[in-house]
Symmetry: C3
Subunit: 389 residues, 3 copies
């Protein structure tokens, strides 16, 4: 018995190979070889060389963005006089976030005090006492009468609000015309957590002299992290004038496409610029433009609060970072090769079908390919134990 | 010799097919066919129809969010008198970010000046001179004595702080009760960089009239991008009253689930609403609520600085965008099919084991399946070159 | 005819098994068994146990971060006198965002008014009238003469600016030295949308007493969400003094690595700390440091605007959340197993090549493995229909 088991284990080390039938059929043979070539070509050409199917990829990127703007502009309006706008004023918020806004146009309503004043009829009253009155115009008069007085002969009502009321006429030209020349310095630190790889868009080869002089340009300075506002807008296909008057939103894409099998220095950012509140479709004009209001509060000598209300139009920049990194890994390699090989099985199946059922001599092939087990007396004589696979 | 090579290459085009043994065993046969059906059903039903395994997917979404709030409310308190709250006041920050905060309740401590004043005993002193005193209460008196004077009979100490000190009694009712009726307009621009596909949640079919009238509603206006604050809170399962008094944090999810093999118009956002600082677990009450302080600084006539300190409670909205896009690609298709086919090999293995070792006639099957190569004189006669595979 | 089809369908249920040739060649046999063991070891050890290849993974995490700082510091400067800094002052923005900035050092230029004043020669004039003068120094004089007067004997020019001009001498010691002891409370809510799994870094087992006392520490309090600023800086490998004087940027990573096949309580955050504006490479010193300017505006009794300009240096914290969740899923399991099995086919191919072409008895093996179909008269006698596969 022990010997039988020994024989069995020993026979496990015999190599078993599939028995093949050679069908001297060149048509099917050529077809199958072509199919094999196709699979091999797909695997090597498409999967490995083009799609880098031997790499484990990471598409999640950890990113930290710091921005800094430079440039100054003067505005001169009858209401607020000569004004100097530095980065501390026109960048909102000022601390250099990933998303920031540059004031290019504004309406200021100075010295507003809480009180009663006549409403302005030529614009929606969303700004005043009644919440959402712009959506409830037919009930508006009724609501107003609860808070103010209506002078029936002129049709205007008195409302309780910050007076005087904002007149709402946006200048037709951007007040900060020089905003075009402001510069944006973008620092982006990225990390691919899976590969513990991190890099900055300010490349190690960049020195501070270059950083003071350079301006990003796709062709000549592709790795300069300093952008001219006017250029960025032009690259989106719009003009500064378009965006600056009524405001707009621009996405600055930073794409990191890194092959970590190559040297680190090959992993560099690529910039792209798109307008986000695009108006290509005229029906969508409702979503273009960008403005908001903020107020600066003061107290007068008597301690009463008054404020300057700013309605600012401008360009919102959204630095959008995305990236992909790939590095050789055994599992995707095995999956790519394995599934390609398995696909050859499908080719065998098709070629077999053609050979066995669509050729003139199919019945001969069938007979040779398939062998029926017939239990005869002879085979009942015990044989040496056989193993499989 | 040249002819031999020619023969060899020519024989490469012969089709070679595996030789099969037909075991007339219906049990194993049925088992194998069932297994085959299972694999085919899994491939077609689960992998292809349900999971869309023929698609390359992208789960990384580039997203830019702009928000705009509308609505006004009055507050009337003994301390600060009648106050008008417009979006420029109750939205923090005012510029329309992805994450924003709506003031719904507040405590104002007006006219604070730097000086010495008695501490307030009924609350933690984290606000005053000694950093982290709230975590070091037993050493507090000692530290206070270094900076102020303690009046031993009352037990209060004088501290150097902004005086008068904030009393810290939060109103038990939200001061801005009408915040429920404020509207939030959410503009979301997304892009799937891998597929160069971009879209906005303000659909191309949306016109500006609809945008002025509509309110989001899952059933009737699923693509209206304007939300009523009160509705959003109700959809999270909490009441406005709950959140507005002590503050809270709400996540507004926008999900883009796009099948790019279909038409672009099928790729639409889906909204969901959850409370993030959830208090379902009573032990976790420490993490619910939301408030912070900010100050408005003034100078008096003498040039001395004083400030109004606001402790604001309110609702923080976090617009969370996620998405997935899929498009037909050859590689995942091959991997899905290939791995399914390869799995059939496992079925062959199991069925072979059953046939060869667990059937009554196993030894016959074994003998027919396996053929031993025996080197005989006859086979030493040179044969035509044979190829394999 | 009906019977023929019946026979055919019936024969479909016959089990067909490949015919194997046993080559009693221990060398190739051992090689093949070793290869099989290798593939099985790879599948079980690497793919399943180590890489959890049976899991569907989600690497996209939805995250919402709320931060809250505590701590107070005094500063005493000749210009602005004694100042008290609370969280409402030193945290910018104050509302508790994912990205926030702590003021640690500052230069204040109080009581600036718009007017004419002499320029400051010892620093770049990027701050004044001419946009981008720092990049156009050779044209500067020319531009200045358009807006001010130049006093030729001293070489200074008069410029139109906020006067007095910022002197630009940063204190060499951080003004807010106690910022080291400020605490940061980080609340992070995450969600894996694919698995509808959500969790907070404030664990359900954390009670509010613990939250008041604990400080994060990798070894003793790994799940305490409260961080000491000084500790965080030390863990990045830099000293508080380094960062606080000229500013810096710190990334606080929160990593969620969740195996959702295990209990929810096993899915916990891991914190990591890195300096983002790293200065390891001396050439890159241009990107280190962090500062920005903001202004507080006042009106004097006459209604004229003046401002206090703050240039603040400090530490920017960026809470970077990433994560990965995995849960058992049938598709990746099938792909992992299937591709591994398919790879065995490659082993068969290699072993066959060795056996058939590199062994001394290769020709015998070839002859037994391959059987040529020869069409003889005998096989023309119609046989029972055969099926395949």
């Amino acid at each position: 018995m022990a010997q039988t088991w020994g024989n069995f284990l020993f026979s496990l080390l015999d190599y078993k190979t599939e028995k093949f039938v050679i069908a001297k059929n060149k048509k099917v043979g050529v077809l199958f070889r072509l199919f094999q070539l196709g699979v091999i070509g797909y695997l090597i050409g498409w999967v490995f060389l083009w799609k880098k199917g031997y790499q484990e990829t990471e598409e999640v990127i950890q990113s930290s963005v710091i921005t800094k703007l430079k440039g100054v502009d003067f505005t001169n309006s009858s209401q607020s006089g000569l004004q100097l706008w530095g980065a501390e004023d026109y960048v909102i918020p000022p601390q250099g976030d990933r998303v920031f806004f540059i004031v290019t146009n504004y309406v200021v309503t100075p010295n507003q005090k809480l009180g009663y004043c006549p409403e302005v009829r030529d614009r929606l009253l969303f700004y005043f006492v009644i919440p959402n009155t712009n959506y409830a115009t037919k009930n508006m008069r009724h609501l107003l009468e609860r808070t103010g007085r209506c002078i029936n002969d002129t049709g205007t009502c008195e409302i309780h609000a910050w007076c005087p009321v904002e007149h709402g006429q946006t200048p037709s030209e951007p007040m900060l015309a020089k905003a075009e020349n402001f510069t944006i310095y973008v620092k982006n630190f990225i990390k691919f957590p899976k590969f513990a790889f991190s890099k900055s868009n300010v490349l190690p080869t960049t020195n501070s002299t270059y950083l003071k002089m350079c301006r990003y340009d796709k062709d000549h300075h592709p790795y300069c992290p300093i952008f001219l506002v006017g250029d960025v807008i032009n690259w989106t296909g719009y003009s500064f004038q378009d965006l600056a008057t009524k405001g707009g939103s621009i996405g600055v894409g930073i794409e990191w496409n890194c092959d970590l099998d190559k040297d680190e220095s090959q992993c560099n950012p690529e910039y792209s610029f798109t307008r986000l509140d695009s108006v290509k479709n005229s029906q969508n004009s409702a979503i273009s433009g960008y403005n908001f209001r903020f107020a600066r509060y003061y107290n007068d000598v008597a301690g009463q609060t008054y404020r300057n209300l700013f309605k600012v139009y401008g360009i919102r920049f959204d630095i959008l970072v995305n990236g992909k990194a790939g590095r050789f890994s055994i599992i995707p390699t095995v999956i790519s090769i394995g599934s390609g090989l398995a696909l050859m099985g499908a080719g065998v199946f098709v070629c077999d079908m053609i050979l066995l059922y669509m050729m003139s001599k199919s019945s001969f092939y069938r007979e040779t390919k398939f062998e029926t087990v017939r239990v005869s007396l002879q085979t009942l004589i015990p044989a040496a134990p056989q193993t499989f696979m």
